[in-house]
């Protein structure tokens, strides 16, 4: 019954996004449009990233962790940040508060990311007869990813949308944003360079996502106070 397994993994991968939307005030304020706009921006950003990667990256198929290549990939990864910046600042939204804005953007972004990166492998792989833990692990990874994206959107909104921030916190905000932005490189290093098992990497991602969420929450509420 491997279609069964596919549904289980799909639920684990995409369920949290739906739950997040339903459970939080996002559904009440009908922010679906904002999420969809954010998803479209994500698709555009990914396209530009692919073009840059194809242009600048050498086609070496080595399994190991090539430092210079990874640095280049990380730099291109910052295009994500630029995309988020664009989504947060440039698009016009209906009148929604800032808290909801970053959540909607983060949600749409993470959902698009999961669909693009995980739907096809899931469809073709999870229906296989052979059972592997991989797809369940990838589902958990998608959960962590959601947290990371929303956190990054929150930090982004702090950086670009909020004008009065306590000066002491500003470096922390930028540092956290930088950390979250380089998370893909870190996981790639763990996977390829240190040869960690997928389950270990996913565990690390989940733990890191909780830490990042906590830090972001503290930073966000700290910036709330003056206003």
């Amino acid at each position: 019954m491997t279609l069964f397994h596919f549904f289980n993994c799909a639920a684990l991968t995409f369920g949290p996004h739906a739950v997040y939307y339903k459970a939080t005030p996002l559904s009440e304020y009908d922010t679906a449009g904002s999420s969809i706009k954010a998803a479209i921006v994500y698709l555009g950003t990914t396209l530009i990233k692919l073009v840059c990667l194809a242009t600048f990256l050498q086609g070496t198929e080595t399994e190991g962790f090539d430092f210079s290549q990874e640095v280049l990939k990380a730099l291109i990864g910052f295009l994500d940040v630029a995309g988020l910046y664009f989504a947060l600042t440039q698009l016009t939204y209906r009148n929604i508060s800032q808290t909801h804005k970053f959540q909607a953007v983060g949600l749409g972004w993470a959902f698009a990311d999961s669909v693009v990166h995980r739907l096809a492998p899931l469809w073709f792989g999870a229906r296989d007869l052979e059972f592997t833990w991989d797809y369940l692990l990838k589902g958990l990874e998608s959960n962590a990813n959601l947290v990371f994206t929303v956190s990054l959107a929150a930090l982004g909104s702090l950086m670009w949308l909020r004008k009065n921030k306590p000066a002491a916190l500003v470096p922390f905000i930028y540092a956290s944003a930088g950390l979250v932005a380089t998370m893909p490189s870190i996981t790639s290093y763990l996977l390829r360079g240190l040869h960690w098992d997928l389950s270990k990497v996913v565990g690390f991602e989940l733990a890191a996502s909780l830490v990042v969420a906590f830090v972001t929450w503290r930073l966000y509420s700290a910036c709330q106070r003056p206003s």
């Binding site: 949290p16 059972f131 990371f148």
Partner: protein, 550 residues
């Protein structure tokens, strides 16, 4: 966050490779499937899609939906036969051959589970015999053991012993061979190869010289066409023929040592099927060629025993037979071989041809079969096949028998009666070459040779043809189709995929776990963002609606 484009693409590709590696893929060799005069024999199915089990009597298993996996040394043919005769269905049978099967299953690392060499061979022969002569309604495959197969078999055995055989509800290993049912081979062909060593032409034209034919059939029959090598039956005969061709071609190269006899070498096919190939070959003979053959020597299984028989159809007091017998007996004594004559009258009305020389006899050509077989074999007797491996042939015995036959021939064609001349003396340049014998025995023991599956120009046929062409002239090839009494089916090899499947229970458990997780997530998010009252309110509204509708 998100993986970067190219890295993701590569990772996705890597994930596909991982998927393929997750399931083990093993080469398996299917059992033969054939009809004899309309009666079906062998394994009638090819596709496999069932769970694996390691024994016939495991509690809680539905055998008609499982594949039974047995290492060769754990096979009890009687039990299998009982199961078959009681008309109970099996999902499939997978037989595991030891890794170094060719060498009698002996290897330096596997010392614990191998039987003594003799027992091992006997079991395989008995199994082969049972398989070949029964109509088996389920797929039967052979596979060689390696680390993956051993590991997986051990897992299956452990699970079965713990009372958890693999089924759809408990999960476990699933074996899949995706092959459609085998199709009939429309025209099963065979190829005969012949070569001449022309004798010394005096006043007579070469074609008018008397001829002696040396014949050996090169194919075999076994339970699995992709594995049946028939090292002794009849690899030994083929090697003997090639070596004889080599030795006599050296003698014939020089006109001073060329005898006034032609030597005709024939490698025939379709031996197990009443020597169909030999019959076809003889039909193609010119009348003149036929008349000039003094006698034919058919070589069949001469690699294993110190006692050989001279099977004839004519009465032993026939002068030609008598001369052959006396010559060969005298030489045999010197070499330590016992030889006896056995006569069986041919019955023209009976289509059964048990030994090759009978076809010559039916065509009124004096012939004899030299063989270690004492009695004439029945149709598809356990000769050759898978059980007849390289270790079954003794190189020294083959070399000795080659020398015996060579000296006998030389005595006749050079008229050395009464003279004590050893033409092929050990150590001389005309000695039988042990290296040549070993080389060809090795090759033949590695090459499955079941005629309908070799095609017209299988590699071994081309190799034999080329080899014969080195030593003889006018090498000819004759193709023909098997007569209608045998019908063969294809698909002799396939790939088996071994999957580790999760049980339905596991999937249900995961579903509940994921549902639970999403529920908890929902509750937490509602509480943290909207507050507890909203959560309670979310549950209250449907309840009040229910009251209203009542």
């Amino acid at each position: 966050m998100h993986r970067i484009g190219l890295q993701t693409a590569r990772h996705r590709f890597h994930a596909y490779i991982e998927i393929c590696d997750g399931a083990a893929v093993v080469d398996v060799y299917r059992m033969i499937q054939y009809d004899f005069r309309g009666t079906p024999f062998g394994s009638r199915r090819a596709a496999v899609n069932h769970h694996a089990i390691s024994g016939l009597s495991m509690p809680g298993s539905d055998l008609s939906r499982t594949v039974l996996i047995l290492p060769i040394d754990k096979v009890h043919v009687i039990l299998l036969n009982e199961y078959l005769q009681s008309k109970k269905m099996l999902g499939g049978l997978l037989l595991i051959l030891p890794r170094n099967f060719d060498n009698g299953g002996k290897s330096s690392s596997e010392s614990d589970s191998e039987d003594a060499n003799g027992d091992g061979t006997a079991d395989v022969a008995a199994l082969e015999q049972w398989l070949m002569h029964n109509n088996i309604p389920y797929p039967v495959y052979f596979a060689f053991s390696d680390d993956r197969v051993n590991g997986f078999l051990k897992d299956v055995q452990v699970n079965d012993a713990a009372g958890r055989p693999a089924t759809a509800s408990t999960g476990g290993y699933k074996l899949v061979v995706s092959a459609s049912d085998a199709k009939k081979i429309a025209s099963a062909s065979f190829t005969n190869i012949q070569g001449w060593l022309w004798g010394l032409r005096g006043e007579v034209d070469v074609a008018g010289l008397p001829t002696i034919a040396v014949v050996a059939s090169y194919d075999t029959f076994g339970a699995a066409p992709a594995l049946a090598v028939g090292s002794d039956s009849n690899g030994s005969g083929v090697v003997a023929l090639l070596e004889l061709a080599r030795l006599f071609s050296r003698l014939y190269a020089n006109t001073k040592t060329r005898a006034p006899y032609n030597l005709l070498f024939g490698l025939t096919s379709a031996g197990p099927y009443n020597y169909n190939g030999t019959a076809s070959w003889l039909r193609g003979f010119d009348q003149r060629v036929r008349e000039n053959i003094d006698y034919a020597l058919c070589l069949n299984s001469i690699g294993n025993s110190d006692k050989i028989w001279l099977h004839v159809s004519k009465p032993p007091d026939n002068p030609v037979i008598k001369e052959i017998h006396e010559n060969i007996a005298a030489l045999a004594r010197d070499l330590g071989v016992t030889i006896e004559v056995r006569r069986k009258k041919i019955n023209i009305s009976n289509s059964r041809v048990a030994l090759e020389h009978e076809h010559f006899s039916r065509n009124r050509i004096t012939a004899a079969t030299i063989s270690e077989l004492e009695t004439t074999p029945d149709l598809l007797d356990p000769l050759g096949g898978i059980a007849d491996r390289r270790s079954n042939v003794n190189d020294t015995v083959v070399a000795r028998n080659i020398k015996l036959i060579a000296e006998t021939l030389a005595k006749h064609i050079y008229g050395l009666d009464g003279k004590n001349v050893e033409v092929f003396a050990d150590g001389s340049s005309f000695a039988v070459s042990p290296d040549y014998v070993k080389l060809w025995l090795d090759l033949l023991s590695r090459t499955p040779r079941v005629a309908p599956f070799l095609g017209k120009n299988g590699p071994i046929i081309v190799a034999l043809q080329k080899e014969l062409a080195v030593y003889t002239s006018d090498v000819g090839v004759q193709n023909d189709n098997l007569d209608g009494s045998f019908l063969f089916y294809d698909t002799i090899q396939a790939q088996l995929s071994i999957y580790q499947v999760a049980s339905v229970t596991f999937d249900l458990f995961i579903m509940i776990a994921v549902g639970f997780y999403l529920g908890i997530l929902f509750v937490i998010l509602v509480i943290t963002t909207k507050g507890f009252d909203d959560l309670v309110g979310a549950f209250k509204r449907p309840a009040s609606r229910k009251l209203k509708s009542n």
